[in-house]
Amino acid sequence: MTVLHWAIISPFLLAILVPFLYKYGRKIHTGWFVLLLPLALFIYFLTFLPRSSAGEVVLRTVPWVPSLGINFDLYIDGLSLLFALLITGIGTLVILYSVYYLSKTKEKLNNFYVYLLLFMGAMLGVVLSDNIIVLYVFWEITSVSSALLISYWYQREKSIYGAQKSMYITVFGGLSMLGGFSLLYTMTGTFSIREIIANIDLVTTSSLFLPAMILILFGAFTKSAQFPFHIWLPDAMEAPTPVSAYLHSATMVKAGIYLVARFTPVFGGSPEWFWIVSLTGIVTLIWGSVSAVRQKDLKSILAFSTVSQLGMIMSLLGVGSVAYYFYDGDNALYTTAILAAVFHLINHATFKGSLFMTAGIIDHETGTRDIRQLGGLMTIMPITATVSFIGLASMAGLPPFNGFLSKELFFTAMVNVTEYGIFSVETWGFILPVLAWVASIFTFLYCTILFVKTFTGRFQPEKLSVKHVHEAPFGMLVSPAILGLLVVIFGLFPNVLAYTFIEPAMQAILPGIMEPGQQFKVHIYHWHGFNLELWMTIGVIVLGAILFITMKKWSQSRFYRKERDIFNYVYDSGYDGLIKGSQLITRVQMTGRLRDYFVYMCAFIVFLIIYTMIRYDAFSINTANVSPIEPFMWFVVIAFVVSIISVPFINNRMTAVVMTGVAGYLVALMFTIFRAPDLALTQLLVETVSVILFMLVFYHLPELRKEKKKPAFKLVNLIISVAFGVMITLVSLSAFAFGSETNFTSISQYFIENSKVLAGGYNIVNVILVDFRGLDTMLEILVLAIAAIGVVSLIKLRFKGSEDV
């Protein structure tokens, strides 16, 4: 175990301690204790920064299940370090914010911080693991802990609903991802991502390439709320705001992004990957931005905006994946998209985190998040308004904030797509920049709505439940202010990130393109002349502004008034349908009538055996070895058949018992004919005793009543019984034919020869029973004894009256 391993395990260890800290340190808010850990981890991960920017990677191994090739391997390159710093950095800020957000007395802080630490540790594990099984384990811990965090206020029905929904969707994705990982293992024989990338030829040439890719993408798309799996994210907004800020903007939803980026070297370069990832991303982008416009709740707007921004990053990763195979030297044409993706990843984490926190502040101070009730808060909450403005402007893509830069890069990447000349982009490629541009208009629109409706206009204190609205306490403002400051810094000096974060991450996403020692060119600048991208941005602003000014007209439309996503309907009815369908099946199948179960069993046995026999063409009749039938045997057989057939038609119980007895005695007669005196004797005696028993028992039962059943019921019984009889007959005949064809020698010859010599008896049957196969007899008398004890206990020890067992 190295320090790096302990760094990942430390949140879990602290999670064990949190309840004690909560119980014995009640005077101090538990968050203060927790705060120290992510801060320490952040500083610890910062120490890797020089190595990572120099292009070095760090690998630490601890065996876990070495026999299966599952090791707790940790791997730090530019990409994982970037994520680790995001997780710990924003984690620190979120915990600081939560200290002021959650009340020390009213909330169950121990639960909150345990879940949050679990999540943090798992998330670190996801981004730092090199082993895909370990990655999967951590992945599922993030799903579970995030469901726990969403349902933190478990008294509310909506929280439970949101938690369930996110759980179902992300676990569905997680499981299919596990399937994809298993396929990768079948292809390459290793669980290590590095080794899979090293053996990339095994993957690309395999027929399992596409299934593995699609399964892994399911995992990434569900976790990152991509279309159409995005529906869990808006419902996850029932979580406390620090959770939304942390999980649903900066970290967990980016796990899917991480996965796609991490597996770009494996699957990238294929047209399927390019089209699936880019199209899903771009559709998510436009769907999310359009849906965000319709929302009236601050956090819902932010949720849909997160969906849309994640779609943007996803589409950039898809577009950039071509670089893995089509990079030509200096040309930045192919790598711009990856550059934009990494840059926007950082930007989004900063501004979205701060926006969620400001939304939380507004909720906390005014008691509502509904934009129709808010307004005019700018003078009352100036700091919050400033931070919100910075975040929103950055999200809308306005200069001089960092969102502008990443949006310009995004446009560049999307416009360049048509120039690739591969994967038939020349025909359908134009769709990407057009959709991207339209989506940006809507992004601008909802950012404007969010700011104008909340902070400008008339203050309406009568609509608010809180009497005295005022600016948030200082501690609550620190975290969003820091993030807002970062937005400005990254906006003004984007190149501080260039070779520290972005370039190493690009190397990690696109390994093997550059020679060792070479670097991608990363130069982000504000002004690049009046080119197409700038005109597009100007178009976005103009059209967005026009749409906002004409908002009164279209805000009456049905489209605007409907908030719920159409896919929720699909999910809900699917969920209900699943329950109703399984209930229906159970009702049809589990009738509670023994006869029905008997029908299923017999029909299934008949079907199975007849199918098997036909499948192997096994039916055959061989009369070569059949013994001659004596005439008197016919009488016995006919009498037997008549007595058996008559039983179902008898309406009196006693007669039926006697008739069964007759059949039994005829069997004894047959045993005599076939020279089995022991069997005949036993059969006679057993039949006698059992007839007496039947008489004794049936004496107590009421008269048989004529059962009135529908003809169909009787017909089914008839068909099944006839089929069963015919099946058994055919199988017996075939078995006999098989036996006479293969000429197996019977074991009985041995018994005949040795019964006198070895056991000293002439009665072979008895010698077999007590000597050669004595164990069978011993267990049979045990069965008899158990039956007797069973009867005694059933009769003597039964409960009186209506007592239930």
């Binding site: 022991d678 005793v689 004794l696 056991a759 000293g760 008896g761 008895n766 007590v770 004595g774 005694v792």
Partner: protein, 144 residues
């Protein structure tokens, strides 16, 4: 012996004789099993039938007094004997349930074959009698 019904005299008198024969026959079947048709199972069932006939002819109380041992215990004893026969051979280093036999000269019977399998059969016999009687009596007594 107190009679339950005066008009059962014929039945009861003949039963006293007949059951003796049935008992004797069942005992014969039990012993003959090794070389002729018969054995513990058949012998046991036959004995059970004989006792059953007695129960039919006389009332419950009389027979319970005449045959004063518990059939349920008989099951246990039978199982124990059967298992013990199997374990005996293990004591001498042979596999479970190995049987031995030999011929002995007796003054009155001449040469007789004796085998340990007979003890096993005795276990079977006792279990069969016990189980059959326990089941039938449990059901019949419940009638009251």
């Amino acid at each position: 012996m107190k009679l339950q019904k005066p008009n059962d005299v014929m039945l009861q008198v003949s039963m006293r004789v007949i059951t003796l024969f049935i008992f004797a026959f069942s005992f014969y079947l039990f012993l003959a099993g090794h070389n002729n048709p018969g054995g513990g199972f058949i012998g046991g069932l036959m004995t059970a039938s004989a006792i059953l006939v007695l129960y039919l002819a006389f009332d419950m109380k009389t027979i319970t007094k005449a045959i004063p041992f518990s059939f349920t215990t008989m099951i246990g004893v039978g199982l124990l004997i059967a298992v013990a026969t199997g374990i005996m051979s293990m004591l001498f280093g042979y596999p479970f349930l190995t049987h031995f036999f030999d011929y002995f000269l007796f003054p009155l019977f001449g040469e007789v074959e004796l085998t340990t399998a007979l003890f096993f059969d005795l276990g079977v016999y006792l279990v069969v009698v016990g189980a059959a009687m326990t089941i039938i009596l449990a059901i019949a007594e419940d009638d009251k």
